[in-house]
């Protein structure tokens, strides 16, 4: 075991110290943070620096509706009463660029939603649309208010409402359900990525040892299984480190980052609302289980493929079947998250090679019973033993073979005789 430890330590330290590892580990969360925070920050900044817009209402009925609508869309509004000194000074203030612009509401606004904007420049397209919507929406409400069927038409125009009554005991509210689906999708996709990334990393590590003819030096002192286990565990430890940093920074973001932003961003939902989107502890633990089992399952397959090949190009081809095993579940992940109780979902998620991604997705989406998850874990563990046994035998023979890659019957012989 000490030998395996020395191999693991080498593999781990060599990888963790590379620039690419440090950059990808640190840059990814920073990039994510930046993507989240920069738009919010920019929004906050522009909202503060934005000059006011004057609204002059000659109809006497529109302003009360238009102004709240505009304000909720982020405008800062100054209401000007017609016929006052404020109206007289309006033109001068526009020229002095004291105001960003002025909106003139009149009978045409009521009749056909026409509104005049005056300013040193026009509003941005998006803001233009907001202005139009505020005006037409108010005019429409105004118009409907005068007829008997007004409220009905207004409700219909607003898009109606879908009321859901489920017959099952499951009374999770829709917010919970959405959060579960989000966690299922993000988690499944994340698993897909890390299984591929670290799997191919194992393949490369094995291939390096084979093409660099290091295998023979190593195998004169250590057993093939020790070498293979050392590789797989070393790369796995690298993966866990990276995951740890990433997950840690997510927790940090939700725990400290967003609450710290809240004073500056009053319009952002409160932190506890966001925290609802964080998965529960059980789901989180199951994610780690799926990652570990999935990783060892695929890593041993990739190790065997690496041992079969003699060059990078050959490995590109030979890894395709293994990569397909990871891709298939991600193809089915959306329908399965949508309906985690369907036959398709139940069957696919019990196939050991798909289970790491699909069973996790079902569990996170709240569509799998505990016993189902337990069966899939048992299945994955059994598959892991079988795969490791077969892969170990292929590895043992393949790692010393140079030249042409084995045919299927040859592979079978390796496994049988290995």
């Amino acid at each position: 075991m000490r030998t395996v430890f020395v191999i693991v330590a080498r593999e781990y330290l060599q990888r963790v110290r590379t620039k690419s590892f440090i950059i990808s580990t640190i840059a990814a969360p920073i990039l994510m943070l930046a993507l989240l925070l920069i738009p919010a920050w920019m929004g906050a900044r522009s909202a503060i620096s934005e000059r006011e817009i004057a609204v002059l209402d000659r109809t006497g009925v529109l302003a009360d509706g238009v102004i709240p609508r505009l304000e909720s869309a982020g405008f800062r509004i100054e209401r000007i009463e017609p016929g006052t000194a404020a109206e007289d000074s309006l033109e001068i203030r526009l020229e002095e660029k004291d105001l960003a612009g002025a909106l003139y509401l009149d009978q045409a606004s009521l009749d056909r939603g026409h509104v005049l904007w005056r300013g040193d420049e026009g509003p941005s397209t998006l803001r233009g649309i907001s202005i139009q919507q505020a005006v037409t929406g108010t005019a429409l409400t105004n118009l409907l208010g005068t007829t008997e069927q007004g409220p009905a038409i207004a409700a219909l125009l607003a898009g109606g409402e879908l009321e859901i009554q489920t017959l099952s005991e499951d009374d999770r509210d829709s917010m919970d359900r959405a959060a579960g689906m989000a966690a299922a999708f993000i988690g499944a996709f994340f698993l897909y990525m890390v299984l591929l990334i670290y799997g191919t990393m194992v393949l490369r590590a094995v291939l390096e040892e084979k093409t660099g003819r290091i295998a023979e030096v190593m195998l004169s002192s250590v057993r093939p299984w020790q070498l293979m286990l050392g590789k797989v565990m070393g790369v796995g430890a690298v993966g866990l480190t990276q995951l740890g940093v990433w997950i840690g920074s997510i927790l940090l973001l939700f725990g400290l980052g967003i609450p710290a932003m809240i004073p500056f961003l009053p319009e952002i939902p409160m932190a506890d609302q966001i925290n609802q989107f964080l998965p529960e502890l059980g789901v989180f633990a199951f994610f780690v289980v799926c990652f570990l089992l999935g990783y060892f399952l695929y890593a041993s397959l990739f190790a065997a493929v690496g041992a079969m090949c003699s060059s990078e190009e050959e490995a590109q081809q030979m890894q395709v079947p293994v990569v397909m095993l990871v891709v298939v579940p991600i193809v089915f992940v959306m329908p399965i998250i949508e309906d985690p109780g369907s036959t398709l979902a139940v069957v696919l998620s019990q196939i050991p090679f798909f289970a790491p991604i699909l069973m996790f997705a079902r569990v996170a989406a709240g569509g799998a019973a505990v016993w189902e998850a337990a069966i899939s874990v048992v299945g994955m563990v059994l598959a892991l033993f079988a795969t490791a046994w077969v892969a170990g035998r292929i590895y043992r023979v393949g790692i010393l073979m140079q030249g042409k890659r084995p045919t299927l019957p040859e592979l079978w012989r390796w496994v049988r005789e290995g």
Partner: protein, 313 residues
């Protein structure tokens, strides 16, 4: 006689339909320098891999230090494979420490020994360099250090001199002799006969997966001594070719003639005198290892000829 470091008993190994090693018996006495000679593809590397326990024999027995080639026994062996391999991205010193540690040497001890060796081979200033930044010859030396760092009792060197310049070849030869003087058993595998002749006490010649000769080098030479004639002469060389001559090789000052087995050198001398050559030396000599090798492993050595001799490295 002390216990043999390595013993092979009727060992056979096949890869599919290819028989790589066939019923090989071998005994490498403790403390000896033993040459495992043979053309490429004759089964040397497979034999070594079986001694190292990397491959298991199909039939027969491999005995290393009196037992199975298990982990503890293999740790007493230093193996320099023909195909050299180091982790290219790793720093030299780290790499050496790693190689020693997987053979059970404590990290600090490994570091001290590695530094001493780097000093000795003139590589002390490269300790923190990555392996890929070193020249081939330097990598070769690093690999050698990695092979001996755990102070093995048996040193297996597969073509150890290939890729080294003459100065470093001499240095390596010197080091090998030192190990021998300390009592380390050394197994050489090579097809460079000059080197083998200089260094080895015993040799085993294998050809086409079978052993053809085995024994003490001096005894072998004596047994094979008939039939090689060294002639120094001036003048015509038309007399060199004749019915008793197997092959002739020009050397400085004359010619080295190999006769057919059992042939009498007398007619050759008579022919030379008759042809008017001025003979300054006519001597029946011990064959060089090279000649023994060619005689037994060359294309004419067996009815089922076919293996190219002394194929390119």
């Amino acid at each position: 006689m002390p216990q043999a470091a390595v013993r092979l008993e009727r060992v056979t190994k096949e890869f599919g339909s290819l028989r790589a090693v066939s019923e090989l018996d071998l005994e490498i006495p403790s403390g000896s320098i033993y040459g495992l000679l043979g053309p490429n593809g004759s089964g040397k590397t497979t034999t070594i891999r079986m001694i190292m326990g990397i491959l298991g024999p199909d039939t027969g027995k491999v005995i290393l230090f009196g037992g199975d080639p298990g982990e503890t026994r293999r740790r007493k062996v230093g193996y320099l494979p023909e195909e050299r391999g180091l982790y290219k991205k790793m720093k030299v010193l780290e790499q050496l420490i790693f190689l020693a540690r997987i053979r059970g040497v404590d990290g600090r001890e490994a570091s001290d020994r590695a530094k001493e060796w780097l000093e000795r081979l003139g590589l002390a200033d490269r300790a923190e360099k990555k392996v890929e930044d070193l020249s081939k010859g330097m990598q070769q030396k690093i690999q050698f250090i990695g092979t001996v760092l755990h102070e093995p009792e048996l040193l297996i060197l597969d073509e150890p001199f290939s890729g080294l310049d003459p100065i470093n070849q001499d240095l390596l030869e010197q080091i090998v002799k030192e190990f021998h003087a300390k009592g380390t058993t050394i197994l050489f595998s090579t097809h460079l006969m000059d080197q083998a002749e200089r260094l080895c006490e015993r040799v085993c010649l294998i050809s086409r997966s079978k052993k053809v000769l085995d024994g003490e080098l001096r005894a072998l030479k004596r047994a094979e001594s008939d039939g090689i004639v060294a002639v120094d002469f001036e003048g015509s060389d038309r007399w060199v070719h004749g019915p008793e001559v197997l092959r002739a090789q020009p050397v400085e000052g004359g010619v080295r003639i190999e006769l057919h087995k059992g042939a009498d050198p007398q007619p050759l001398l008579e022919r030379a005198v008759a042809a008017g050559a001025r003979i300054t030396r006519f001597q029946v000599v011990e064959p060089r290892l090279h000649e023994i090798f060619v005689r037994h492993a060359g294309p004419g050595a067996a009815a089922d000829a076919g293996t190219p001799l002394l194929a390119q490295n």
